[in-house]
Amino acid sequence: MNAILTKALYTLISLFVITNYGLLLGGTMARVRAKVQGRIGQPVWQPYLDILKNNFKRTGIYHGVMFYLGPVFRLAGGLGTYLFIPAVYGSAVFSNFSFSGDLLLVMYFIFFGQLGMALGAGQSGHPYSPLGVSRGLAQMTAFEVPFALAVIAVASQHQTLSITELVAAQQGGILNWVAFTNPLAMIAGMISFLGMTMGNPFSVVIAPQEIPIGPPTEMQSSFLGMLQTNRAIFQGAKLVLFMNLFFGGATNIVSMVVKTFLIYLYTVVVGASFPRFRTDQSIRFFLGVPTLIGIAAVVIQML
Amino acid sequence: MMTQIVLLIGFLLSLTGLWGLMTRRDLFRMIISFSLLDTGVHMIMVGIGYVKNGTAPIFDEALAPAGAVEKVVDPIPSALVLTAIVIGLAVTALMLSYAVRVYTARKSLSVEAVKELRW
């Protein structure tokens, strides 16, 4: 009983941290992007404002049960993904529920939120929502390939699928990081990470600049707020995952913040400096060079 | 010697019949060739039955039952050829009526007229 309570407490702490970190990170990066484009940009705490505004909006409309549950699914997906990853190596507080499943569980749990969101968007009856969904899913399957190959390479390199053990195997010196012991896997993984974050050049899914296209088209009020919350947490989860996979994880909060910040910065830089792909272009891109790199990484492990 | 001559003629006759069967365009001529073939076969049968200077196996003043064995030709082929001839006759009759029928149906006796069914 006691153990369960403590676990619940730890979980809350961990979630609280990752949420705020995600939000702040989002705000910061928005500013960075603005700077790159020569604008002043929004305040760092803008994401908080948006979420509060949306949640306290007076009127809200919904199109049906799935529409109602869509954001819930989405957020559950984000939370779950995060909760199955050990955020900080060796810390009881941030180890989350990583004991209940390994890397494969995390990889497949990412789908959970995607599916729920897609369903919700679908019931809205707005043609743009499924349009965005079809683009997003199509792109996802594409970047999953190099990512999967990278994961396989790493797993076979360390003969384990447990994230904790992967991190453990990378301890002791920067040279033990997969990034250096298995650079090809890292490259493949990081390229697919670009797709995963849906920034440029793979941002056609939610097309931020134009009239709203994509899954969130019909979302408003607290539904939208929930999505924004999830975006923060999910972003954080993905960052932590990649940090654990390729960059030796983190032994304390600070190193985690630094590493994830850098990883995110990399995506923003790429996004700021490249135009946008059409969906079919991005599919071909991911199934091209990155996949070859991933295969190379795997083949090396085979030899 | 006798046998061989008869046999040769018989075989020649049969081959002639076959030749006609395969080359004549007129149905009735084909039938005639067919009876040639038959006749050839019958000659062969008779020729097989021949025994050196033997006579017909019918007892009368000239041929006493006793010791006839040395003097007569083989009666069996004669019996068989009798049957064969009658059967050939029957077949020919039927063939002819078929030819007539084909003529009434196709208004032609050329073998080219009976090429509807093929492949």
Binding site: - | Q4, L15, T23, P57, F59, P65, A90, V100, R101
Partner: protein, 254 residues
């Protein structure tokens, strides 16, 4: 032309194949034991002076029965082919044949076959000769088949002779009407009787078609050799009737 060449090649090939048969057989010096057995025993076994007859009618009687059947089937086939299925049309044809004129060809019964060039009627001479010869030929035919066990000839030869007489009549007058009923009766009854005789042999003598259920009689007499003369007569009647039927159904009158 290619085909012609192929035919020639094929025929030469088969001639080559036949060669050993044609040339490889010398004259026989003596009879085969089976034949010798026939020649020696036929007299006391069957009492026929014509060994061939003995073989045809008795020893290999089954062949002869089958032979009759072949002829019978052929006759039936010719009738089937030559007469259109339904009887009333046949009657119509008979009627039309009765009187003169071109209405002999009717319907699809095929009687117009060859009728485009009208055939000449038999001449007076032919008609008279036929009328005169007809009974004589018949008599001769009957003689041939009842003496089949004594002299050359037999049922088939006799039957053919009889049919030829009918043919002569038809030559003389194509529209000569034949008694179909008589023909049919003769054909059916003689055939059935033949089978019956065969069964008698099975019951009263040693086996199916065994002619010895009648006394062998005096060698060389007309009424001898058991049932052989009877069988041959039946055959003669049947063959005569069947051939007549064939001739009848094959004729095409203008």
């Amino acid at each position: 032309m290619i085909k012609r060449l192929l035919i020639i090649l094929t025929l030469t090939a088969i001639a080559f194949g036949f060669y050993p048969l044609a040339w490889g057989v010398e004259d026989a010096r003596q009879l085969s034991p089976l034949a010798a057995g026939y020649v020696e025993n036929s007299v006391e076994e069957l009492g026929t002076s014509n060994v061939v007859t003995a073989i045809v009618v008795s020893y290999r009687g089954l062949d002869t029965l089958g032979e009759v059947t072949v002829l019978f089937a052929a006759a039936a086939g010719v009738t089937l082919l030559m007469t259109s299925g339904n009887p009333e049309r046949r009657k119509k044809r008979a009627a039309s044949r009765g009187k003169d004129g071109k209405d002999g060809k009717d319907g699809k019964d095929g009687s117009e076959g060859g009728s485009d060039k009208a055939r000449r009627q038999g001449s007076e001479l032919l008609a008279a000769g036929a009328a005169f010869l007809f009974p004589i030929i018949w008599l001769f035919g009957i003689y041939i088949f009842i003496h089949g066990h004594l002299t050359p000839g037999g049922g088939f030869q006799g039957g053919v002779v009889i049919a030829s007489a009918v043919l002569l009549i038809i030559f003389a007058d194509c529209r000569q009407e034949l008694g179909h009923t008589v023909l049919q009766l003769a054909e059916a009854l003689s055939g059935a009787a033949y089978v019956g005789v065969g069964l008698l042999g099975l019951w009263m003598a040693a086996g199916f078609l065994d002619p010895r259920f009648l006394a062998a009689g005096e060698f060389g007499e007309l009424f001898s050799a058991g049932a052989i003369p009877i069988i041959y007569s039946l055959i003669g009647i049947k063959v005569g009737a069947e051939l007549t039927g064939i001739v009848d159904s094959l004729r095409r009158c203008s």
